[in-house]
Structure formats: C-alpha cells, structure tokens
Homo-oligomer: 183 residues x 2
C-alpha cells in the first residue's frame, strides 16, 4: 500500500475511534514513521484528508452494492448490517456516525460530501427494503424510506451506545432489526 493510502486508512481509523477533532497529523506521522510535513505533501489541509476519506467510503459503498447485487433482499440486508458490525470492531464506529457527530465543525465542502455519502447509503437501503417488501420477504407498514431511516439510525445509535454499555448490546439490536423485518 502506498503512503497516501496508508494515511487515508489511519485517518479513517482514528476518526472512527476517537473522532475528527481528537486526532492530529502527528498521530498519523508517528505511526508511519514519517514527518508531519510529509502528510501535508499528500493532503495540504486536514479538510482535504477528511474529504479523501469520505470519498473512499463512497467508492466502498459502490463496490458493496455491486457485490451484493445478485443476492436476494434478505441476504443484502444481512450483508449490509454485517459491514457495520465489522466496522465497529475495537470500538470503531461507522464513518457516517462519527462524522455526523462533528457535522457543525466542518467546512461546507465536507458537509456536502457527507450528505452525499449519507444519501447514497439511505437510497440503497430504501430501494432494497422496497424490493424485499414487494417480493414478500419483508413486512412493515410505513414508507420504505421511513423504515430505512429507522434501521440506519438504530445502527448508528447502537454503535455509539455500545461503547458505553456493552458490545453485546450491538448484536442484540442487529438481531432485533432482522427479526422485525421478516416477522
């Protein structure tokens, strides 16, 4: 992996573990055994770095969509939830949850990128739920987008709260989401 990608990966992990305003370029430079000036070579500002990180997640989302495109709706949702589960390991939460929290401390440009990632995620989930509902896999009585919102917010909140309470809580909630859908 080249240095640029390593910086993005470390920044990503730091944001999701400690938050955007709680990590510095020196956290990354120490880990990579380079100087902070070298990071500025790749990313002139911290804002540029976080944008690159969001864009990486946009690409990952597209790859995920592609990868599960042939599966049935139930499997799609299970895979979707499992991404958030792996993501959460070692206390890291999803990029969406972490960055939403620091939303008001971002420049307009970062806010826009974050909105795009959020909407792309929400749109895919809405479409997948609709598909599963129409095919008789899922059962719920509300707008598809509303159900999608509830599932996403439930996951984001669960990631957050699991830090304080107990990691097992997270699994309980994921189980409940699936059971509620296919009941």
């Amino acid at each position: 992996m080249n240095t640029r990608d390593k910086i993005i990966l470390l920044g990503d992990n730091l944001i999701r573990k400690r938050g955007y305003n709680a990590f510095s370029f020196s956290d990354i430079s120490k880990e990579l055994n380079i100087k902070n000036a070298s990071i500025h070579y790749y990313f002139p500002t911290k804002t540029a770095l976080v944008i690159a990180i969001i864009q990486k997640h946009l690409i990952l989302l597209e790859k995920f969509k592609e990868k599960v495109s042939e599966k049935d709706s139930v499997q799609k949702i299970i895979k979707f939830l499992s991404v958030y589960s792996i993501t959460k390991s070692e206390g890291r939460i999803s990029i969406l949850g972490s960055l939403s929290n620091d939303y008001f401390t971002f420049t307009a440009e970062v806010q826009t990128e974050l909105k795009i990632l959020t909407n792309n995620t929400l749109n895919w989930l809405t479409d997948t739920l609709k598909e599963g509902r129409q095919q008789g896999f899922f059962h719920y009585d509300m707008e598809d987008r509303k159900k999608a919102l509830i599932i996403i917010t439930n996951i984001l909140g669960a990631e957050q709260l699991s830090r304080v309470t107990d990691n097992y809580d997270f699994h309980k909630i994921k189980e409940a989401i699936i059971n509620d859908l296919i009941k």
Copy 2:
C-alpha cells in the same frame, strides 16, 4: 444564575452542539465576558467541567422521573421522547449521544460517570416499558431491556443523522417508535 451554573450551561450546549473536543474554555469566557482564568477558578480542568455537566444531567434525570411518576406509562414515554426532541433544537443532540461519541478520549473517571448516567436512563426506560407492557399498554415480544436499548439507540442515531439529512426525519422516527409500542 451564578457564574458557575452559567459555565456549566454553556459547556453543556457547546458539547451537545459541537462535541467535547471541539470547544475550548475561550468559547465560554468570551460568551460570559470573563477571562479563561476565571473558569479555572470554578473548574480546574476541562475534565472537572465535563464531570459537573454529567452530574447536572443525573440530577435532571432524577427530577424528570419524579415529575412523571404519577403519569401512566404511555405518557411517561411520550414525555421521555419529548425531552430528546427539545434537546435536539438548534442541532444540539443529547448529552448521552454526544459524550458516547468521544468516549475513548475521556479519562476513566469521566467514562465512569457517563456509564452511570447511561445506566440510570436505561434502567428507568426498561422499568417503564415493563410497567406499560404488564398493564397492557405496550405490545412487544422481547426482553424489556432489549426494547429499551432499541428505543434509546434509535433516538441517539436519529439525533445524529438528522443533522445531516433533515430535521423532520427526527419527528418521523419518534412517531414510529410510539406507534410500534402501542400498535
């Protein structure tokens, strides 16, 4: 209101709007037209301030419990959710959501206080759900604590995501939580 309480109130608002690691003593001192040294007179460290803020919320929770103690379970839950709604005004999220996010950047002492506040909240909600279920108001088929977890995490996530998407989303989700319970 005395200076100490003003500092706590401003710190509370700043944490819930921008996060613990994104505000400084000078944000508070400017607002109060005092010097940063004066804040240190009341709170020697930033850690001491956040602990005082958590303890204020512990007291607020006790007052809330007392205030709704005579109401029926449905009203209790509605009041509980409405607290989170008011809380969210102007983009401020709940103290639980905001501090959970910065959990790994806190000292052990702050983490402990936050755990206490979280558990107290969760315990009250669990008991209230159980009461309402036993009295036939609420209908769900899982452990009471699990249902309490789902409700809390749903609210925390909704507060978070509403910043990025649309405030109206938050109301939609609250509605859905109530409807799901009493359906």
